[in-house]
């Protein structure tokens, strides 16, 4: 985010168009696409910023892909960046569904079914990979590993809403960090 000048709006549009076109399986599967493009290839974003983006946008209403586009677009290119990115993220769905609504009968759904049966296992790998790369960056203390394990367990076992956990995580961070800095000032 330090080198805002090198961010081009058409490029943002193009990146989020690809993100929108390849968002399968409920949102998180497209995270590696954003990661590769904005963190690895363009270097516009640090891994931490990327993780923070997910935490913050998941406490707001809206699909992950759309919220990521708005948030990252705005931080990288202001209002114009947010508009280009969200247009890019939404257009593939809009065009696909309009085409399907217009010519539903012409589609060979049988072939599509097979194709999507192949995509689903890959979606699992994409989401696992996103968790893995973020974990490598973030989980540097045993407490953090425990916090991650507890959050994951609570969601799987009790279907807790992500926003509840994100807000709890923020409060925990504030409490622990406050204590740490007090101890630091004593010594």
């Amino acid at each position: 985010m330090d080198n805002q000048k090198s961010v081009s709006l058409p490029k943002l549009f193009g990146i989020f168009f690809r993100v929108g076109a390849f968002t399968f399986g409920g949102g998180y599967a497209m995270l590696p696409i954003i990661q590769r493009e904005l963190v690895d290839k363009q270097g516009w974003l640090k891994e931490e910023d990327f993780i923070d983006m997910i935490g913050l946008t998941q406490s707001a209403p809206g699909p992950v892909a759309v919220n990521s586009a708005i948030y990252l677009g705005y931080r990288l290119g202001g209002l114009g960046g947010a508009i280009s990115s969200v247009l890019g993220a939404v257009l593939p769905s809009l065009l696909t569904i309009m085409a399907i609504a217009w010519a539903l009968s012409r589609y060979n759904l049988e072939l599509l079914n097979h194709a999507f049966a192949g995509v689903r296992p890959t979606v699992v790998s994409l989401i696992t990979y996103a968790a893995w790369t973020m974990g490598k960056k973030v989980l540097k203390t045993p407490q953090k590993v425990v916090l991650t394990a507890i959050s994951a367990a609570l969601i799987v076992a009790f279907k807790l809403h992500p926003a509840v956990l994100i807000i709890s995580g923020a409060l925990l961070g504030l409490t622990l960090n406050g204590r740490a800095s007090k101890e630091g000032s004593k010594s």
Binding site: F22, F24, G27, I33, R36, E48, I51, D52, G55, L56, T57, Q58, A60, P61, G62, A65, V66, I70, Y74, A82, V86, V90, L94, T96, I97, M98, I100, L112, A115, F116, G118, V119, P121, T122, V123, S125, L126, I127, A130, L139, K144, L147, S151, A152, A153, I155, V156, H161, P162, L165, I166, S168, G169, A170, L171, L172, G173, L176, N177, G178
Partner: protein
């Protein structure tokens, strides 16, 4: 007027769409099927199936489909803008606040607690999706090979998705 009605119905849905995806299905159902009768329950079930198979968030896909059915291509565009506008406003405010307070030790402390939760969130999504999807040997093998390709190589995730389509058509 139908355009205005499409806009505010989907803006209402968009403003309550916390958690995205499947959380929204009952919400859309209560508005679009039961209250407004814009879709029959069968049509709605079809849209959910289509949304699962096509790219894009289910809220956007439903808005586009209903908009088209009620008022053609312009209806699609207006319903889709409606569903995005609440996220746009709220997320922009969040991004503005984060930019302004990025140096604050409190924000940094809060983010320090949020980051491990995000990792847990994504890991649980992988777990839940895997529990539904990895049902036989070939799906496990495909998922394993793809994960290895993601971790060990620089192959674009998009290429891997396209490859999976082809593998799906040939072997699934």
């Amino acid at each position: 007027m139908i355009f205005w009605q499409l806009f505010y119905t989907f803006a209402f849905i968009g403003s309550l769409a916390f958690g995205g995806g499947y959380v929204m299905i009952p919400l859309i159902d209560s508005q679009v099927v039961e209250k407004l009768h814009w879709l029959t329950s069968t049509e709605f079930a079809d849209i959910v199936a289509i949304a699962e198979m096509t790219p894009g968030p289910i809220a956007i896909n439903t808005a586009t489909f209903v908009g088209f059915k009620m008022a053609g291509p312009l209806g699609s565009v207006i319903a889709t803008i409606g569903v995005v506008v609440p996220s746009f406003i709220i997320v922009m405010i969040l991004a503005k606040l984060v930019t302004r307070f990025s140096e604050s030790p409190y924000l940094q402390a809060a983010l320090g607690g949020i980051r491990p939760v995000v990792v847990g969130l994504i890991a649980s999504a992988a777990w839940s999706f895997g529990a539904k999807t990895l049902v036989d040997l070939k799906s496990w093998i495909l998922a394993g090979v793809m994960l290895l390709a993601l971790v060990k190589t620089k192959i674009s995730p998009i290429l891997l998705i396209v490859a999976s389509f082809v593998i799906g058509i040939l072997f699934f």
